[in-house]
């Protein structure tokens, strides 16, 4: 009798803890239902970059991808660009690529910006914001680290220091 009661109580408490725990998990990690975060598989996408080349995320399987969402008008984005360019050159040979997805801007603006900062990494142009929407990007810059297996290992919306970028590069180096 007493044992049965203990079992009943434990089961009921366990069910509630699990239900609330799962709810909190969802509230944090699935905010909009499209929010891509740590541990998720990075959804594949196809975009045309500034030079007119087709860029598909899946083609980078086997390499680490530093996926950055940005705009020319966003100051914090502008700040981290020179660091990204330097570390792109340093880590390119080590199998880490940078894809700097521009959020819905014109080729003219982005070309001028890229020229000013001597950017050489691919800049996929997300004209229709389709990728931005699919990844649930809110504020920019947002950086998503994708490892060689196509899994997201980090997501952040802070403006990155050069040290931080180096530590990110090390993290996804194959």
């Amino acid at each position: 009798m007493k044992k049965k009661r203990l079992w009943f109580r434990s089961a009921l408490l366990a069910i509630l803890v699990i239900a609330v725990g799962y709810t909190i998990y969802n509230s944090i990690f699935e905010e909009t239902g499209t929010y891509i975060s740590k541990g998720d598989r990075a959804p594949n996408f196809v975009l045309t970059d500034l030079d007119g080349n087709r860029v598909e995320l899946e083609d980078y399987r086997g390499k680490g991808v530093f996926l950055n969402f940005w705009g020319t008008w966003c100051k914090p984005c502008e700040r981290e660009m020179p660091y990204m360019q330097r570390q792109y050159e340093a880590y390119k040979e080590q199998g880490v690529e940078i894809l700097a997805v521009n959020v819905s801007e014109t080729n003219v603006s982005v070309k001028n910006f890229a020229k000013r900062y001597h950017l050489t990494f691919p800049i996929p142009m997300d004209k229709q914001r389709e990728v931005t929407k699919a990844y649930g990007i809110g504020p920019i810059p947002t950086t998503i680290l994708v490892d060689k297996d196509g899994k997201v290992v980090e997501r952040t919306s802070e403006s990155l220091s050069e040290e931080k970028i180096i530590s990110f590069m090390e993290k996804i180096k194959p």
Partner: protein
């Protein structure tokens, strides 16, 4: 834990204060009347404290704890209204810095503690979960023993139980059959045992509180399910006229839905119309009559890659008006907002300043300007730089606020046979800044605009659960509020016939019943002890 045997022979669970069967106080210190709230039954939580599970159980069994949880939740919800919630701050700003820059340190703390997204913050969900737990445990701990006590109660009650009731009388020469008959005409359910009577009415009203708690639990479950994948979608979709955009939250293995905005319509009431004239004369400005989007729904093939040019199959056309959503699958699109006359294309003419002669014109798509416009005969214009939403930054340099063409400005380079090196000019709305003595200028020739519509994308599989919870809650409230549990005991004792009565609320109604009873029979009117003590 051993049980307690009453002198009537009934065995009561440990912790019982009034015998479940005859109502005899099992302890000398028991106050009968106040114990009647739960029939003097043993609240199971209070019976023993041994394991951690029992201790947690006992904590949540307390009504005091439940009330404190409700108060805490109310206060938190109130604080959540001080600054706007995250969904109402401008998109594309980082909430972390926004709250601090807008509202100072308090705003930063507000953000840090998760008040900016209250219903999604972990501690608020935990509070709601604890409230749910408290409701379930407190109900089980009181409801089940109460049910058992009311089920096992006997007709014949112990003298001490009778004596302690608020309404009591002793009569002589009373015909039991008459009492029984009168009680039945009052629609009491009457039981008989050894010449004693027990009449009861409205026992089901005692379950009201438990029914309404079941409703609350269902309600909370529905709210919880909103966080589960696939149950709830609430997104905003902006589409320009003539454009197609993917509908957020509608991607599945079968493909992605797209929506085309064919036309956005805003109609105003005609003030000159006789029908509306008198009603509208007191209103300044226009009064909106209709907000409408004419749309077409498309679906991609199953193997659609995000960002790729979609191969779209038309599903259907539709019209969206306020309160008249467009429905497909389990989704509904609601008219939410709009933006009229967003700049779309700007036209210029290349003009020779000295003669005023034009050498061709060009139209610039503000969402995708060309870098070069060839006007023929050796005349051409290049766009060197473009600022969609022009502003001078802190270094007095031209910059753009964002990527929306609300205040477009260009740096043009104008080439002609006479100026092969090109002349530069900065052109914006009511701005024309030239470098040096230019022979040519770009003169403004016109602008095209487009409307945008904003739609709310909604899918809600939880609404019926929440509605069901609400209905059950209301049934419970009604049950407990509009009915009450009245009981009358008639016992044949040596010194006469004892009558006692009890109700959980509405003593006035019970007394009315008793007056009827003493009118129709020889029963001595029952005296209200409480009123006596006030006297």
């Amino acid at each position: 834990m051993q049980s307690k045997l009453c002198e009537c022979g009934h065995s009561n669970p440990y912790g019982t204060s009034l015998c479940q069967a005859c109502g005899k106080p099992l302890d000398n210190e028991v106050e009968v009347l106040s114990s009647m709230r739960y029939e003097g039954s043993a609240r199971r939580s209070q019976t023993y404290k041994s394991t951690i599970v029992d201790r947690v159980w006992n904590f949540f069994s307390s009504v005091k704890v439940g009330v404190w949880l409700i108060v805490t939740i109310l206060v938190a919800a109130a604080i959540g209204t001080i600054f706007p919630q995250e969904m109402f701050i401008p998109p594309n700003v980082d909430p972390a810095s926004h709250y601090e820059s807008e509202y100072g340190t308090l705003g930063f703390i507000y953000y840090l503690l998760g008040f900016h997204n209250l219903y999604g913050s972990w501690w608020f969900i935990i509070l709601l979960g604890m409230l749910g737990l408290s409701i379930i445990i407190a109900s089980l701990d009181r409801g089940i023993p109460l049910y058992k006590a009311l089920k096992t109660q006997r007709v014949t009650r112990h003298d001490q139980f009778m004596k302690n009731q608020r309404l009591l009388s002793v009569s002589h020469d009373v015909e039991m059959e008459e009492i029984k008959y009168s009680l039945e005409t009052l629609r009491y359910k009457v039981r008989e045992e050894e010449g004693n009577l027990f009449a009861e009415k409205g026992r089901f009203s005692r379950w009201g509180a438990y029914v309404n708690h079941v409703g609350l639990i269902i309600f909370l479950t529905g709210a919880m399910l909103r966080f589960f994948p696939g149950m709830y979608v609430d997104e905003i979709l902006w589409v320009r006229e003539g454009e197609k955009a993917s509908i957020p939250g509608t991607k599945s293995d079968e493909g992605q839905f797209y929506l085309e905005n064919n036309d956005f319509i805003l109609e105003m009431y005609d003030k000159n119309d006789k029908k509306f004239n008198s009603a509208l004369s007191s209103v300044d400005g226009e009064v909106a009559k209709n907000y409408q989007s004419n749309v077409t729904l498309y679906k991609t093939e199953p193997a659609h890659t995000i960002g790729e040019e979609p191969k779209l199959l038309k599903v259907k056309d539709g019209v969206i008006r306020v309160n008249e959503p467009f429905k497909f699958d389990s989704f509904a699109l609601y008219q939410t907002d709009f933006k009229l006359n967003e700049f779309y294309k700007m036209s210029f003419k290349l003009e020779e300043k000295s003669t005023g002669k034009f050498f061709g014109d060009l139209t610039v798509d503000l969402h995708e300007p060309e870098t070069e416009y060839d006007l023929g005969n050796g005349y051409r214009v290049e766009i060197l730089d473009y600022y969609p939403n022009f502003v001078l930054n802190e270094h007095n340099q031209p910059a753009t606020v964002n990527n929306l063409p609300d205040n477009p400005a260009f740096v043009f380079a104008m080439y002609s046979p006479s100026t092969p090196k090109g002349e530069k000019a900065f052109v914006g709305i009511q701005k024309n800044i030239e470098s040096g003595d230019n022979q040519f200028k770009m003169s403004f020739a016109g602008i095209e605009t487009k409307d945008l519509t904003a739609l709310t994308v909604r899918k809600d599989h939880t609404l019926w659960i929440i509605a069901l919870g609400g209905i059950i809650f209301m049934i419970g409230v009604t049950q407990g509020l509009y009915w009450n549990y009245r009981r009358i005991w008639i016992k044949q004792n040596e010194d006469g016939i004892w009558a006692a009565a009890h109700t959980n609320k509405n003593w006035y109604g019970l007394k009315k019943d008793l007056e009827f009873l003493s009118d129709k029979t020889n029963l001595t009117p029952l005296e209200d002890k409480e009123i006596d003590s006030i006297k």
